[in-house]
Symmetry: C2
Subunit: 221 residues, 2 copies
DNA sequence: CTGCCTGCTCTTGTATACAAGTAGACTTGT
DNA sequence: ACAAGTCTACTTGTATACAAGAGCAGGCAG
């Protein structure tokens, strides 16, 4: 339900391409987008390009100036903190709901993912993927499509900050430990505890990121 | 930050008008929107109309069919439950943050709103407004613009269901009592308690709404 | 030298024309 | 009568042309 099936319209293609460029910082924060130039570059007319731009604006992946220009939003460490907190609230909710709805098969699936993650904990590049996999499973069990949808949007935003929030081995170990406790709480069917653990887990990730940022300098050097 | 200052462009006007019609159910759930007809009715060309439509789609106030048609989403009691839960998670977060940041003046402002609400508790039409006023103040104190933004979007969605979730005097009294406890927790500076109370408060509202719906029949009769 | 005014260029916003694909109705054959 | 195929009307998606407004440069006056 979150991602609508991509109809192969040009607007969808340029939307995906622009989104990719924004999230990879290929389009730099603060950079302005000029419709005719971008349309020429993407070899498409202004109409579908505008459609893609407006969609990105409504997702806050682009920003409209009062004067009328459109630009890539600046990176801001206050924002990343906010995003982590919203993620914490949503994942907490989903952990609670998963707790209430999980079947034996669901628990088994969670533990299988956990085992996989434990085996791969040393690989930094997979760390994010692993956390996402576990969370995706929990989200599926929770079955709140709106929570899932909003969570996806927030996660997209956070991708722009990925390069600034390097994960350390310590952090990955801690995350794995918290995931174990979380799955245990879900298995035990304790909603309040599962919710609290999920919340604290993401808040811990927030604090780790903020420390990493202040150590390595601000996000916009 | 949530609502961008309306630039007086035609697309913004039709956006506001369509949104109004959708939220008031003037555009009926399930009804399809034909661009030429709607453009003629609103006396504007298809281009700005399409812009407004796409924006509403990305806010889930309109729905795009795989085939290409656009229609007003059906009402669904599963969805309203989901929306309440997301609201609960977000308001819980904001209550927690408000707790951490509130100044003496903030507490005073909250208590003033509380007193006002207590005086007006018997007026059903203001009930929603009062709850919103208190929440808006808390959101302001919490100062998480993303939480605020997402909360606004979810609240918009819920407006479509307003007519089905009639509030009773009992319900309003209960809400006021919970608001008192919430403000007390914020004043006491107890984040966990404030968060828990805010969460339970909205969940209680969810349950009351679901009961009202099952009593009065399904949302789509 | 500085401040203001004027004109130009380039931007965005809107309208319209065109193309392609789809749903539905009608006809035709069995 | 029913099923299948085709044609038509209308839909959405895209391109382009046009208008209005903002920003900027350059010149002119004080």
């Amino acid at each position: 339900m979150p991602e609508q099936i991509a109809r192969n319209t040009g607007a969808h293609v340029v939307y995906a391409e622009l989104k990719r460029r924004i999230l990879t910082l290929e389009l730099k924060p603060g950079e302005r987008i000029y419709e005719p130039a971008m349309a020429a570059e993407l070899q498409i007319s202004r109409t579908p390009l505008r459609e893609a731009i407006r969609r990105l604006i409504s997702e806050s992946l682009l920003e409209q100036q009062p004067t009328g220009g459109v630009l890539v939003p600046d990176l801001d460490e206050v924002v990343i903190s906010e995003l982590y907190e919203v993620r914490a609230a949503l994942e907490s909710l989903m952990a609670r709901n998963a707790c209430l709805k999980a079947t034996a098969a669901d628990i088994e699936a969670l533990e299988r993912i956990l085992a996989r993650n434990a085996a791969l904990v040393e690989f930094a590049d997979d760390a994010m993927q692993q956390g996402m996999a576990l969370h995706a499973q929990i989200a599926g069990i929770a079955g709140n499509s709106w929570a899932h949808r909003v969570h996806s949007q927030v996660s997209s935003q956070m991708e722009r900050y990925r390069h600034f929030t390097n994960s350390t081995q310590d952090r990955r170990d801690a995350a794995l430990a918290q995931h174990r406790i979380l799955v245990a709480a879900v298995a035990a069917g304790n909603p309040d505890e599962a919710a609290a653990i999920a919340f604290e887990h993401v808040i811990a990730a927030r604090d780790a990121s903020l420390r990493a940022i202040t150590r390595n300098g601000p996000v916009t050097p």
